[in-house]
Symmetry: C2
DNA sequence: TCAAAAGTGTTAAGTTTACACCCATGA
DNA sequence: TCATGGGTGTAAACTTAACACTTTTGA
């Protein structure tokens, strides 16, 4: 270390993850009912401390991996939360990240170990510290970003019906959408491709399954839903 | 300190400020030609270290105040930058903030002390570390946010002509706008109020000065430019 | 046979874009 | 008197929003 930095203060830095899933027509968050201090017994986001040998992004991925067993999950920054007393135990800064995952992929064994549960965002319990702020900011970012970038697909299986896709966007925006207008817009985006497979789980008649083609999207990246 | 935090690593945390001003029809940044280590002689954003007794937002305001002598400047978060070697001297995390100021308000004496200079964003010199990324991200946020929230006014004097306002938005978006369409949209926003004062500095004929009425905006907060 | 979800087009309303000339003034 | 920036309206193109019925199937 050069002498330049010697007198400066150093801080604990955490990452907290706002983990979104889509389930039963609603956005859900994967939350911990804490079995550990501080705030044992209360609800919180999944978090962890930044370590010396990792970047902040890596820390976020690691924390998510610890809880879900997944890597390659879409994550993006929400912001840094740095009020002095945000953690009443000790001063800790927190970098918040949101993650979008397909709820089918999650490992319920790992979740059990951490006492993690999917909770509808319309029915969130009280959360500790400034975690409610983090969630609100993440939701706001998700709503804006989902409208103009094809990130919603991260919340669905690879193959999905248009009814599912519409229900997802209705959940994200918190409003109902017109079926014909929605499908018209989907039809204009060639990278949302109809397959010849049919899903019979949602109706007797069955619905065609679609998939998102990222390569095709990148060729003509115009998205609006 | 409770024992819980004892084993965790602690980190130096800085704030860096992307300070926007509007001058001669262009967006400018207030940059330092560093007279101090590290990276003496190179260009950088204004920054400073987070201190124990201040929140991150407060640190950003303090750093801006040190350079400009101004408080009450609009600032918002850009993000946290946490790559391990982003500062080659020692590991330092940085929370980046952008600030929007009226360039007339700045204190050129203070600027001199810090060896700070307004530089057109179309003519930026190479910047140290990951400062270019910070600037790019700040610009992106500014462009998105300026379109739907009335923050552009922070870059102008309290009284401004419509020609100035249009030039500002052209600078933000990096494209020219149609004068009649622009003024039509302004006319629809009642909180952009025509005064009876006239500015003669920009033309022989003179142009009416307008002002932004924040209270009126909050009553009917619909903004689009 | 009927309940439940899938699928399909048209029209009106609203928004956005393109475009050109006269005005007022000081030098 | 003329060069310079200030100020003004309309029509076409495009986008968005509203709206209802038929199809398929398994129980």
């Amino acid at each position: 270390m050069t002498s330049f930095y010697k007198k400066k203060d150093r801080f604990y830095v955490a990452v907290d993850c706002i983990i979104f899933g889509f389930y039963q027509g609603e956005l859900n968050l994967l939350l911990l009912k804490r079995t550990f201090e501080p705030a044992k017994g209360e609800w919180s986001l999944m978090g962890g401390f930044l370590e010396k040998e990792e970047s902040i992004d890596q820390a976020a991925k690691r924390v998510l991996y610890e809880l879900t067993g997944l890597d390659n999950v879409y994550m993006d920054q929400v912001g840094i939360f740095g009020e002095i007393n945000r953690d009443p135990g000790e001063r800790v800064l927190s970098a918040a990240f949101y993650a979008l995952m397909n709820i089918d992929d999650y490992d319920s064994e790992l979740a059990k170990i951490h006492n993690a549960h999917w909770v509808k965002i319309t029915e969130l319990p009280p959360l500790i510290f400034d975690h409610p702020e983090m969630v609100n900011k993440a939701l706001d970012i998700l709503q804006r970003k989902a409208a103009t970038e094809p990130i919603g697909f991260k919340l669905l299986p690879n193959l999905f019906t248009l009814t599912q896709l519409q229900a997802l966007y209705e959940a994200i925006y918190g409003e109902t959408l017109d079926k014909r207008n929605f499908r018209k817009r989907v039809a204009e985006m060639d990278f949302i491709e109809k397959t010849d497979e049919i899903d019979k789980s949602g109706s007797r008649r069955g619905a065609f399954l679609y998939k998102f083609n990222g390569k095709a999207y990148r060729k003509d990246p115009k998205f609006k839903l």
